[in-house]
Amino acid sequence: MQSRDELKQEERRFYVWIGIAAAAHVAVVVAVVVFQLLYVRMHPPLKIVNVSLVQMPGLPGPAGGPKIPEAPPADVEGEPEQSEPVAVKKVSEPAPKAEKKVPEPAVAKKIPEKPPAKAPVKAPEPAPKKPSAVDERKNLQAALEKLKSKSSAEKPETGKSSAASNLSSTLANLQKKVASGGSGSAYSGSGSGAGGGRYGSGGGGAFDPYAAKIAGIIQNNWSFSSQMVRSAAGLEVYVSLLILPDGSVSEIRYDRKSSSEYLNNSVRVALAKSTPFPALPRDRATKGIWIGFVFTPEGIKP
């Protein structure tokens, strides 16, 4: 039988072991903490960069490419007269080609397929100098002026002479309409001018410089990347705007929304950013006009 001394001795041994176990636990915890600290020091944390895929720092619109950096003011002011002729040249260069192509229906059909590939159009330009935003605006204004004068002379095909990149899709669409006999697309309506058909320029197929201008403004404010949608096929948003004479929009009507909520939202944001528009031309400043746009992953079609 165990004596009391033996029991006490065993208990004492057990308490010693408890102390050793507690010390071992503390040592293990300290070792784990130290190991973690060493691990963190040996593997410094990676910097986290939040990237918004929706609002990319590139050009708005389907291309989503890097935004062309604005030229410093000195460059713009230093050679304004030198750049202008270049811009005029750029604008006027494609004009004769377009005039030649319009009568040929086969070529005219091919033209709408070109807008997605904007880069190849720009590449063969003789002046590789990067156009600044100011130059681009000047080009746009010059093109619009030219288009106005030519449209008044009932030559809608000259509207396609604009070389502004953000109008290329618009012009291609116009060419298509002209080639198809001016009857307008299925959705463009058969009315004349801006009254009957909101989408397209109406029965005569006359180019509306104001609509093109607004399309350009919306295009500039439109942040959309076609890479964010699974399939671009069938994605179209039909929007009609009632623009008052002062350029404010009194009504926005979504005639058809796309299945992509991303596209719908991007259109809504683009319209919100773009309004108010420039005032209507004096000759059309009556009650206000309805203008329709079709937003597709390829671009805006008036």
């Binding site: 176990a21 973690q36 944390p45």
Partner: protein, 219 residues
Amino acid sequence: MFEHAGGGIVTLIAGAGPVVLLVLLVLVVFSIISWAIIAWKFGFVRKSIRESQDFLESFFDLQNADKLFAVSENYRNGSLPRVFRAGYIEFSGIRDRAAASNIKERIRLSVKREVNAESKRLTRMVPFLATVGNTAPFIGLFGTVWGIMSAFQNIGLMKSASLAAVAPGISEALVATATGLVAAIPAVMGYNYLTHQIGQIERDMEDFAPDFVDSFFNQ
């Protein structure tokens, strides 16, 4: 210091609620006691087995009970020497009285008592290991469930179900389950080892107890 180690154990414990902390404390105490029992009993059992083997060698060599008793004094921690000593003490007390009846039966009873006492001594505190092995995972699970409940409450207060809002609470809660497993696994392993070794010693005692009784009368 530990901010970066987002999943660091200190950060996780620091962010845990009071119930989870209490569970962790209980589990750590369980783990400490378990390891102490394992270490204590491991040495105890090893010494008992070694001394029993040494005593058995002497038992087969020497046929004299008086000499065996003298040898057994050197093996104070061995189970078999202790059983032999108990029988010898009983035998030496009876043999002086020639009229004592049922001497062999009384020695057998004495040896049996010692075997039982030795079994108790060997198995003392060992069931605690089984208790820890069985209950520690559940205690840890309780802490985890409680922590997840708190985490979901916080998520509701934050009005956000994002991963950033959900993950830390669940991560903190899971520390309790991990600690429960850390306490339970060694306890189960130690319990299995000790019960196996103690079972062997007990079988040896039961086997050699009749031989010890006979040795007192055959000398």
